[in-house]
Amino acid sequence: MARVGVITFPGSLDDRDAQRAVRIAGGEPVALWHASTSLEGVDAVVLPGGFSYGDYLRAGAIARFAPLMEELIPAAKAGLPVLGICNGFQVLAEAHLLPGALMPNASGHFVCRDQRLRIENAETAWTSEFGAGQEIVVPLKNMDGRFTASAETIAELEAEGRVIARYVDVNPNGSINDIAGVTNEAGNVVGLMPHPEHAVESLTGPTTDGLGFFTSIVKGLINA
């Protein structure tokens, strides 16, 4: 069974939700503590949402220096599948595993809504269960979700198909080009602002569309 680690930083909030999503997708969730120095041999890692270190200094800026990140960064560069959700995306950007930065929402408010997305790249480790162009609805909730990057970087991301998901209907935070998520060149590291782990059960989510991110990794690892 695919073992998927979920790192808990001080201030992580959606760690249990990410573990549940892995379980529902058929994987084995493994709780990882930020101060540990071992990834415990997991097959993939999720950095969950939340406000690690209270978002003090900058969202993700302190978590990026956690001891376990010292292990994760080289592993990710070597191909370990990593998904950063919301605050996890912010941590990955701060760690330069992904390009760009997440700035405060254009509205100045925290926003929580059921958000329509279009999957733009269904080739990554975390999106292979979707079809390119497929539209899904998952919760979005963030304070600092406005993706931004230099014009060159944006052009590069767009040209290489590294924008993996885009906001549809409403751009909730002012992200450039409606970007909701991006991937690295290898396609193993994905950052996503919305929260697929909150859309894995019809009882508690607006849809079960989010499950695809987790089944992608679980099935991909089994098939690999």
Partner: protein, 769 residues
Amino acid sequence: MSEVSELNPELSPEPNGVASGPRTDGVARARATPDHPQPYKELGMNDEEYGRVRDILGRRPTASELAIYSVMWSEHCSYKSSKIYLRQFGEKAPKTDALLVGMGENAGVVDVGQGWAVTFKVESHNHPSFVEPYQGAATGVGGIVRDIISMGARPVAVMDSLRLGAADAPDTRRVLPGVVSGIGGYGNSLGLPNVGGETVFDPCYQDNPLVNALCIGVLRHEDIHRASASGTGNKVILYGAYTGPDGIGGASVLASATFDEESQAKRPSVQVGDPFMEKLLIECSLDLFKAGLVEGIQDLGAAGVSCATTELAAGGSGGMAVRLDAVPLRDPNLLPEEILMSESQERMMAVVTPENVEAFMAVCAKYEVPATVIGEVTDTGRLVMTWHDEVIVDIPPRTAAHDGPVYERPVAVPADQAALQADTPARLPRPSNRDELRKTVLWLAGSPNLAAKDWVTSQYDRYVLGNTVLAQPENAGVIRLDDESGLGVALSLDGNGRYTRLDPYAGAQLALSEAYRNVAATGAQPLAVTNCLNFGSPEDPGVMWQFARATEGLADACLMLGIPVTGGNVSFYNQTGDVPINPTPVIGVLGVHADVRRRTAMAFAAEGHKLVLLGTTYDEFGGSEWAHVLYGHLGGTPPQVNLPAEAALGSVLVTSAQEGLLSGAHDISDGGLSQALVEASLRGGLGVRVALQGDPFVELFSESVARAVVAVRPEAEARFVDICAQAGVPISTIGVVGGDSYTVDGAFTIPLHELREAHTRTIPALMDQ
């Protein structure tokens, strides 16, 4: 720096902070200087109370002892004006096995079955939220969350009940956005879903907004913890944030005095919150409980160290010795009496056996939570505190924590009460044709109190923890407790200041009825009650009459409905000058779902399902939303209370949910049947077509109690009729779900897009200006 520095005018801090030595106002000095003048009046104590402290101690209190008694005997901490009325919640409590811990602890604990228990409580943070809306509201959330942790429970959701001045008043645009950001900023950072509440506007709250925050926590039966310090030699550990000058005097001065122009100058008295530390405190505390390292626990809220030490010592078997100079400080210049009164947030106090101290410290270190041994449990029966080895406090702890003054304040019917009730809405012109009826629907749907509150709730995380089954704008918040069995709870928080102003006895019962109905509408069996009683000054006999009547009404109704009060909070002095707010008891009802997968949602989303109105509609418009919105009128009497009908309606809704008979259900309250149809229809994205018998105005807008409108699954119609007949609930089939408009035959048709526009644009238009 603060009011408290005046405690001892002769005493100024040394350059490097330590005010010790011969000039410290210790017990020895207090004995030696019996006539030393003390600023007890500035601290909110009267001559009699001060005299009583002197009698208890047999001498004048030290500055630190005066600080302790003044905060512990403040209205906020001692309930001295309300106590004689609150007793009836216990005396009239219905017989129930559901209560594992009753009133008096940090929060009541309710048995919800399968070995699970739930604790829930609502508290006000009204005055701080007016002075500094963001921090006032944020720390209101923080305080109630710590109450829940200190029962041994994991907090799993929050709710908030907000009341503000007129929606278009300039100050409302300062207070509401600040309060919402504060609740969101704190609650979102803790990872607690916000699952419901209210946002109500009325000019009476103009300079006195109400911010009532509720938290619900879950625990196993065997995990209940209490505030008591037992076991001589056990250590007293203060853990969490360092102590600073935040909110000094907050408890006694801010919450126990009427607002005036000076309020703005009290900004430093409002506490500042750090939700990140609180999140660490939650996880750290739960780990400490799980490891069995805690003998007694108390959160630090109003009155800080004073409250925690006296409560723990009074709740235990013996006494306590505390080295106050061991308290870690953020500001080294704090005087001992300031440390005692500081309301710095994110702090807890635990009693730990000596052999467990090391393990306790290790858990705190894991979470990087500072923890310090500041004293130990003794067998002296006294709370003794030292400051650099000098005794500065030596008191019997019960005298501060439990045996404060109790007042039976004068009570008198307000002078205008009879005239108010005589001024009925009968004189108000009603819509006289189809077009006016149509306009009335839209006016009400878009009026600030009934309009969609997405502007507020979209700033709150309702998804975190992954157990939110229903959240605002649903009838009630529903949370799953157990993934396997589906066990869960429903909670609703309701109040109506206008009803209560017209008739306080009925008003409190109507708030309870509405919360009960909301919980039942989801299919949950109502189980227990909490309350936050927001009133004006207890020194005003008219206000005290309102309080007496409202508490009596609530206690009587809880007895009749068979659901006990588990705890609550009283907030007095909600007034500006001589003008009190409308008396506003906010009532929370908790219900249990054996399986949340059986819940009923409010949306009408199934084409062709029949709409059935449950209950009886009377011509009742006193205190109604219609009279308020169209005429700014408040007069007459509120809708007639009918608790047996409420219970019968509840039983129908619960049984129907369990049997899966309904595709949607919505309670009928503010704005009447019309507003219920608007909300359920927009929620489901499908229209409704109804035909009404009788006067369409009364049918659509009356606020008669014990009613709901439901959409019945076609195959379940016969069974549903049977259940209603057995319960004695009158029903009438009024229409059908479907189409893309809200249509009342022979009266009007409103396309859903027009309705949605009217319902959703109001609050953003007011707040985003």
